[in-house]
């Protein structure tokens, strides 16, 4: 087993009771006793239905939200209570890619500015020329036309935009990347390109990745291990080859049984899974 890079140990996350416009909104526990470890160079999948707490877990791992109990450590160092200033040196090393590239790219900035500015901010490049050189190299590697650099986000296709988001992150040479539903909006052919790219990055740069997805098939294609979340708790985890071939939890079984595969399976629609999944 690889050395641990990022570990969440027994974490709870609650959204506190607050008074809203229409009265008191009660406190809700979003994550309960969740333990996740991401090893160096490892790609870990986090799956579950909407509302299961996948995104909250990702945000807690990056310390974008605070945990109410438990501990988060990065390279063995406890980062659970670090202040924003203390976190700053780690920010370059822990990056995030979002689901909707259109929403995460500033529409008023050129792609050039979008990819080079973070390099300058984090001092990964010494000047604009240097940043530009790196950007061009990665664009070639990602099969992105260099002409894209001068364009604005809306002028690119969905697949190109998502590759720009990945390029922006890869240019910072992070140790850990959280990818939150990053291929959900893409066509399957574009999705395959993006997944290949991520696979190559994790192999070549030794990148660790947490890959959040509602799509178990995509997780199977790209992850080494997987955690299955249900209503804020982890119900199963293990190597993908084990979990997908022989799931131990009824919930995982139910999720897998609900996936329509591109093959003829006459009884599939009428088959109910072992576990009753809440509607």
């Amino acid at each position: 087993m690889s050395e641990d890079l990022l570990v969440a140990q027994n974490i709870d996350v609650s959204f506190a009771q607050r008074s809203g416009l229409f009265g008191v909104v009660p406190a809700s526990k979003v994550l309960q006793g969740v333990t996740v470890r991401v090893g160096r160079g490892e790609t870990v999948g986090i799956v579950g239905e909407s509302g299961s707490g996948k995104t909250t877990l990702g945000r807690a791992l990056l310390r974008l939200i605070d945990v109410t109990a438990g501990r988060i450590s990065f390279e063995g160092r406890d980062i659970t209570r670090l202040s924003e200033t203390e976190m700053r040196p780690l920010r370059r090393r822990m990056q995030l890619i979002f689901q909707d590239p259109m929403a995460s790219l500033n529409p008023r900035h050129t792609i050039r500015r979008i990819v080079t500015e973070p390099m300058l901010f984090h001092r990964v490049a010494i000047n604009q020329t240097d940043a530009e050189r790196s950007a061009r190299a990665i664009f070639e590697r990602f099969n992105l036309p260099l002409a894209c650099l001068a364009r604005y986000p809306h002028e690119l296709s969905g697949g190109q935009r998502q590759r720009v988001c990945i390029a922006r992150v890869a240019l910072l040479a992070p140790d850990f990347v959280l990818a939150d539903e990053i291929v959900s909006g893409l066509d399957v052919s574009t999705q395959a390109q993006v997944l290949n790219l991520l696979k190559a990055l994790s192999r070549d740069l030794g990148l660790s990745m947490a890959f959040i997805s509602h799509d178990l098939s995509v997780v199977r294609a790209i992850c080494d291990r997987v955690y299955v979340l249900q209503a804020g708790r982890i119900v199963e985890d293990g190597l993908c080859e084990d979990v997908f071939a022989a799931p131990k939890s009824d919930y995982t079984r139910a999720l897998l049984d609900a996936i329509p595969l591109p093959r003829i399976d006459a009884g599939w629609l009428d088959r109910s899974s072992v576990a009753q999944v809440s509607a």
């Binding site: 239905e49 909407s50 969905g158 066509d187 399957v188 052919s189 574009t190 999705q191 395959a192 390109q193 997944l195 290949n196 696979k199 509602h214 799509d215 178990l216 098939s217 995509v218 997780v219 199977r220 294609a221 790209i222 993908c240 080859e241 997908f244 139910a254 999720l255 897998l256 609900a258 996936i259 329509p260 595969l261 591109p262 093959r263 003829i264 399976d265 599939w268 629609l269 009428d270 999944v277 509607a279």
Partner: protein, 285 residues
Amino acid sequence: MTAPILAISRLSVVSTRDRALILRDVSLSVGRGETHGVVGESGAGKSTIGKAVLGMLPRTVRVTGGEIRFQGQDLLTTPQASLRRLISEKIALIPQDPMTALNPSRRIEGQLTDGLRLTRGLDARAARAVALRLLNEVYIREPERVLRSFPHELSGGMRQRVLIAAAFALEPALIIADEPTTALDVTVQKQILRLIRNMQSAHGTAVIFISHDLGVVAQICDFVTLLFGGRVIESGAAAQVVESPGHPYTRALLEACPRYDRPDAGLRPIPQEVIAQLRAEGQAP
């Protein structure tokens, strides 16, 4: 063979802005109780077919040829006034996004009974009775409560059930389902697919099922038409298209689908030579 409910033949649609072809010579048909899947990646023209049938094409496109025969009548030559009446009575839509399809400021009851009152001429009480029966049919447990609810008070799966109930309300001969489960979790998706299939067999409705998901199409459709760049690449019985595809693009698309039962699936993009072949075919007259 009985006459199809819907027969589209050689339909061509062009963009009025840049003269680009959006659909080119597309033919497909669907009979009573059948489901015909229309699949393709974004920009293939799937939704345009649905819009053309529903008479909802945007002003920026124009039909340049072909026929859309619904129960024998060509919708493209039917005068506007009778067309609207015909479509609202006989053809229904199940849209992708249940949140935007429902009016957020009206209760479900009004939205579900509009058609029954306006088209069928039922009074409020009779319409309400039909609405309750429909909600029962789509397995909504507390139909009275749902009728009183606003859309935001229902979950995504519940909203989609309401829209299915609404689609079947006027006993249409044809339903256009445009990516009806894309926004849902897989477990809910399976329930909704089963529901559409059950409702359809109970009512004998013909369904055009538009989807980007070959897995969904394989499980629910009798026939499949695969589009690329507005052209039909392959069509036939679902079993044939999915299990023994004839066109390299169909094969490549199936290979590009990730599947949890195959670790190596989902990592092969469409090969360049397949794209080149598609382009060459697209150029041919």
